[in-house]
Symmetry: C2
Subunit: 800 residues, 2 copies
């Protein structure tokens, strides 16, 4: 993976030139991770990149997440094990509170840690940071879903020892992680002691320093140990969070495989259970310990039951055996890549980073059943492990077109929040439902409403995800059972929130909301929000009318659940038709909101590079007062609601907003790349794509230590497919308009659509479409309509 | 004091009709306080009004404040002793923080309490709440500045005892309070034990329940006792706040006057020092204990030094003796009333409540040297004891025209904050100075910036107070030494904050601020703010030009302190000339801000009475989104900047805004009364005046337990003088335009102006002006110019 020395030039704009200075905080990836299309390889142990690599080498399956710290338990900065949704609550304290402020903070916490295997050689403990290393190599194998490590060291007494380890968060068995740990003394006999732990560790969190992107710091221990059990090679521990009363049981079990003589025993202290293996190691005789780690959680189940479940997970895993478990993982990943890989020829370093993003999407969503996708996946505790719109707007497209089942799971999870959203709407004096801006439980957890609760667009984002999912998959059953109800309740909220405004000539206006751009807050007629609300209102009206006409049972069910009446549908249609869109007459630009264009333009020239991100250096009022953008707002609307803008309009808007957009959020680059593609700014399209692609590997935001940026990862997929391949999917028509970057020799990816999978391959010479199997389908390529039959590739020459 | 049964009708509007319901929370004052023009009398002990009467019967002198709880120490709800500025600090925690948020909370705390004299009869302790009372009467004597109480009770064994007490916070000796406590057994001998305490009591504060108007709750004891000393009849205690490290010493000393045999001794426990008097009382032999209480505080002085000072205060007070001390107080009050009394004939209950408001102004400001005036004076801990704009806009007019010395003290205190305001401006990326919205120390303490830091108008409010004070008093020295510097630095901020806007035709716009109305936040071109900023810019420019022309020394000094240059003055003048004022063309109404008139109007008809105050029932976004007003905004501008509006314009604005104004703030009624007066709405003028006048006595806001509403008290004075007497003071011209309410037979008050005192007396028949002494002056009465000579009253007949 290489990054050009002078990225500012590559990116070509004022905005990116500032990275010259903060580059100090960027990992120089060419030193750390050599280019390898399927692997992220670390050739040396870099203590100074510890924080970043704990994230980069994290493993997860959507349920379990393991930070990339080391088996031996040190050195560690912010290591840990997470279980999706396993969180603690705390009362949000406001020095000046007000009605309707979110009351309960929610923070994902460290589950008991079953990963550690402490290593002692002749009673001397091994510590990576202080030991004389002769060799170190760590590899994230994205094709196989494994983390490998191999190292060799020499003790003070001259004994040389080799350690090889592999680990995985099993995508096949979501409660299971497996660690394969092999120690070999190379040059002399030694006593090797392996202390395999299962620990309820105290939370040792860094203070937030006022950085709103970090997690809450607890003053006291969060997890109570309710029971602990050690029997032979197995240990289990049951814990409960103090305030949220969530219960969780973790277990570990072992397979020992060595020809050296060994014995084992157990030890327990208050919060740690240990199984100790003592081995009389002879040279070149490998000692191979396979450790199984299991976790089950639930709110209402006793920890004994959860511990029994963890035990059964372990028993089953042991009975399958080490290599078959790893083989399962390989198979699972193969299936994933078969449906999701994006191949880029001609840019091996970009191929590597694109795959890294796709792999992170896999890790965040593989087994996300009954939970959401948090902003950091399960790779870190940034943003408290909360679920935001990131999942609906940035992750859902990838899932919809590569794994509809997981897309459906994620929407079903949102549906589970509907009742709470109805309550929240009521609390805020609204009809319908208002989804929480950030949450784990479904309850609003935003402690700063101006950039939280005020982001009403979350409602339309979810409705949009529903509409797009059903349209791409044809999953009418989901629409009938859950989707329509969500559309109706969200539409209701818009109808209640907005009003037909006399001062705007009878247009339907929505006041007092915050759009995506968090450097602007609580405004009237945010363009993105109004457009998305319109889409939401129309989608709700359309599905109601369609049900009424064609699906009496679905209509009956929907009316029973929502008491919707035709008159109400008419008001949605009226509101949608009259929706106000702020368009500046002079410039022809869509105003981000009613007053945005009246503000003073931020003094970019006078803002030194070390003042970015601005949010850490300027009061919100200073930011809100001026034309300066944290993340794409109007520009994002142009991607999501492609049809609502002509290309000329898109270009005008992009020309206006791009220079105002700081890139202080990771949610912009991919979106700007897509629009730049469409309006013909090829260099910019590539520059923004590059920025998004290396977001985490190059630590562009400087906070990858808190976890990967899952929304940006989803954005990278969109930039490839919506941007470079120009894919659109509206009104049942799937279309493509490729615009390959010059340096790409080939871009290829599969798309799952209407239950079938299509392979798209783009070169500068031609685009080829291959339907894998099933009945024929039509796609559009530019203006041409292509009929695709399974097994019969259709090639369109560039320029056709 | 009587309130008409049907206040809704009296007030005549939708707005006040709602008080029908919450009247349950209003003290029915006719039962509690019989009409008495100089006194507030409580004829019975009402345990259920304990919270309110602790405020109503509080005593203060601007330095010391004593809540109205009882000498015997019980019953007590939120009793206490405050010393102005004696506060604790605490880190403000934000669950989601951002750059520039206020960091340090500041809360006035209970100083050691030297008021308690516990009473035991034959070893049985006396407690008001549980004792068989035969008589109880408590009187706040506003003419003398005393709180009297007389009660008689019978013990279980049939002994009858009479207690008479008087107390005062000495206006002559600001560190001193005096309690005169007399016990007489009436029908049989008894052992009377008096335990006189000086206690560092634990803080026992009620939780705030999310009500933003209450004080911060500390988790731990705030005051450490550093030393304690008891010697004979005297005890002292030295304490320090844990975090702010403020030091304070309190002392008590005693005079015992009785013919009964008595002895005394001292007791000490950890946090309490007691001097015990044991008296063998015979029937009808009075036991009279006079207790002196002193307090001194400082940040850098050792408590030993402070204790020595308290000791000297006590020594001097004892040497003066009881009655002369009370006589001093009487004299001091007489002087106050001579310069400040507002007489109303024909409405005895209104006379009483107006005097109550004036008396509260006296108590809040009498000795406010080196401190500010908090929103509750020193009568309660509401709003944390913070200083707001209330003091500059609502209290300063009263002081300017009745006690210029105290007015100057208050402005000097603001001047003391200038350096901190410069720092704060810098922190928020501004030039000039930005005064804190709420503070004790001078550092911004607002934890909710949208209704705190965003209220930039505080700057102009202070500048306005400076300009008006200097204009009314002719105090050129203050302007030269302090005032001009404040004007320059505040003007600088406006010039930096605003900008000449293309989209507003080159007008000077100020974006992203909050005006007085806290149901609207962070808007562009708040009319009040723009007008006040213009006034500020002009005042600064004017004084600079005047200094440059006529006062070389003052100019030199000002340039030295501020580095101001002529070019800068020109930019202020340009900004002032081009200041944008949002005027709606269709209706001719001044818009409260750029978008106010575009909002939906609040559904007042659909808002039940128990939903007021709205802030306790609706999310800020819901309030911000609609046309609904917490406190007068445009309407306040019309009072402060009278000249900037024609009467017709005032009427239009009043007609528009009055129905939108909820009265959820105590800052509106007096202001609305003044404007209603001017535009000829006599009934409304009287109704709003009544509401303001009984704000505390009738507990209109339902929170008088947290302290009196000092701003409203100042507003009551303004409503009499600016409203009913129509006084204006602009461009060196003092003018009157009386509009007496029908039920008033006579309104009379003194005005101090240009160093002279003028008595104004208004009846329906005539208005009479009497210059007390000194050189002649001119005043205007309507269109007539009157020459006033000392001792020669000038009468103008109504209609002249």
């Amino acid at each position: 993976m290489s990054i050009p020395e002078n990225r500012g030039d590559l990116f070509g704009g004022e905005r990116l030139r500032r990275y010259h200075v903060p580059r100090a905080r960027i990992i120089p990836p060419e030193h750390v991770y050599p280019v390898d299309e399927w692997r992220i390889v670390e050739k040396r142990f870099y203590p100074r990149f510890l924080a970043q690599t704990e994230t980069i080498f994290a493993l997860a399956n959507g349920y379990l997440g393991l930070r990339g710290d080391f088996e031996e338990g040190s050195p560690v900065l912010d290591g840990g094990v997470y279980v999706n949704g396993f969180h603690e609550t705390w009362p949000i304290f406001y020095s000046e509170s007000a009605y309707g402020f979110a009351k309960t903070g929610q923070t994902i916490v460290n589950a008991p840690d079953g990963r550690v295997i402490r290593l002692y050689v002749d009673d001397e403990s091994f510590d990576l940071a202080s030991t004389q290393l002769r060799h170190f190599e760590r590899t994230l194998d994205m094709r196989e879903g494994l983390l490998h490590r191999e190292l060799e060291f020499e003790t003070a007494s001259g004994k040389r020892v080799r350690v090889r380890s592999r680990r995985m968060a099993s995508a096949q068995r979501r409660h299971l992680a497996v660690i394969d740990y092999e120690v070999t003394v190379l040059n002399a006999p030694a006593t090797i002691l392996l202390a395999s732990e299962l620990a309820n560790r105290a939370l040792e969190e860094e203070a937030s320093d006022g950085d709103p992107r970090k997690a809450h710091r607890f003053d006291a221990r969060v997890l109570e140990t309710l029971n602990r059990h050690v029997d032979g090679l197995r240990a289990t521990i049951g814990v409960r969070t103090k305030s949220s009363r969530m219960q969780l049981a973790s277990g570990i079990d072992h397979l020992m495989d060595t020809e050296c003589p060994w014995q084992h025993w157990a030890e327990q202290s208050d919060e740690v259970a240990r199984v100790i293996f003592s081995v009389d190691a002879s040279p070149e005789c490998p000692i191979r310990l396979t450790k199984m780690v299991a976790a089950h959680h639930g709110r209402d189940l006793p920890t004994e039951e959860l511990a029994a479940r963890a035990g059964r997970t372990l028993t089953r895993a042991k009975s399958v055996g080490r290599e078959p478990l790893f083989e399962e993982q390989r198979q699972r990943l193969a299936t994933f890549w078969e449906h999701a890989d994006v191949q880029i020829d001609g840019e091996p370093s970009l191929q590597q980073s694109v795959r890294f993003n796709l792999f992170q999407l896999f890790q965040a969503t593989a087994r996300v059943e009954g939970n959401g996708v948090s902003a950091k996946g399960l790779t870190g505790r940034g943003y408290e492990g909360h679920y935001f719109w990131d999942s609906d707007v940035y992750v859902m497209p990838f899932l919809t077109y590569t794994s509809p089942t997981r897309a459906r799971n994620l929407l079903s999870f949102r549906y589970g929040m509907l009742e709470g959203a109805r309550e929240r709407a009521k609390e805020l004096s609204h009809r319908g439902a208002l989804f929480p801006w950030r949450t784990i439980t479904g309850e609003e957890a935003s402690a700063y409403y101006a950039a939280g609760t005020a982001q009403y667009h979350i409602n339309a984002d979810i409705a949009y995800a529903v509409r797009k999912y059903v349209s791409a998959t044809g999953d009418a059953e989901f629409m009938a059972q859950k989707g329509a109800e969500m559309l109706v309740e969200t539409a209701r909220l818009w109808a209640d929130l907005g009003f037909f405004s006399e001062s705007h000539g009878g247009s339907f206006c929505i006041h007092g909301v915050t759009g995506p751009d968090e450097y602007t807050a609580v405004v009237n007629n945010n363009c993105f929000t109004n457009l998305m609300a319109r889409d939401n209102l129309r989608a709700a009206a359309r599905v109601c009318r369609a049900f009424q006409k064609d699906s009496p049972a679905a209509w009956e069910h929907l009316r029973h659940e929502t008491r919707v009446e035709i008159e109400e549908i008419e008001t949605w249609e009226a509101a949608a038709s009259a929706m106000f869109l702020p368009l500046d007459e002079k410039t022809g630009v869509h105003a981000q909101d009613d007053s945005f264009l009246e503000k003073e333009v931020w003094d970019f020239a006078g803002t030194p590079a070390d003042k970015y991100p601005l949010l850490l250096h300027f009061h919100p009022l200073t930011l809100y007062r001026q034309q300066v953008i944290k993340q794409a707002d109007v520009v994002l609307a142009m991607v999501l609601l492609d049809r609502d803008f002509s290309t000329e309009q898109k270009r005008r808007n992009f020309d206006y907003y791009e220079p105002l957009t700081t890139g202080d959020s990771s949610l912009s680059s991919s979106i700007e790349s897509i629009v730049a593609c469409e309006v013909g700014y090829r260099e910019k399209a590539f520059g923004y794509f590059l920025e998004a692609a290396v977001m985490d590997l190059a630590d562009v935001s400087g906070n990858v230590n808190d976890g990967v940026h899952i929304a940006s990862a989803g954005g990278v997929w969109m930039a490839c497919v919506y941007g470079f391949a120009g894919m659109r999917d509206e009104n049942g028509v799937l279309s493509f308009a490729p615009r390959l970057p010059e340096s790409f020799e080939r871009l290829a990816f599969p798309i799952t659509w209407g239950g079938q999978t299509l392979d798209v391959e783009i070169t500068h010479r031609a685009t080829t479409y291959r339907l894998r199997e099933g009945p024929p389908i039509q796609v559009r390529h530019g203006d041409a309509v292509l009929d695709l039959h399974a097994g019969e590739p259709v090639e369109t020459r560039a320029g056709d």
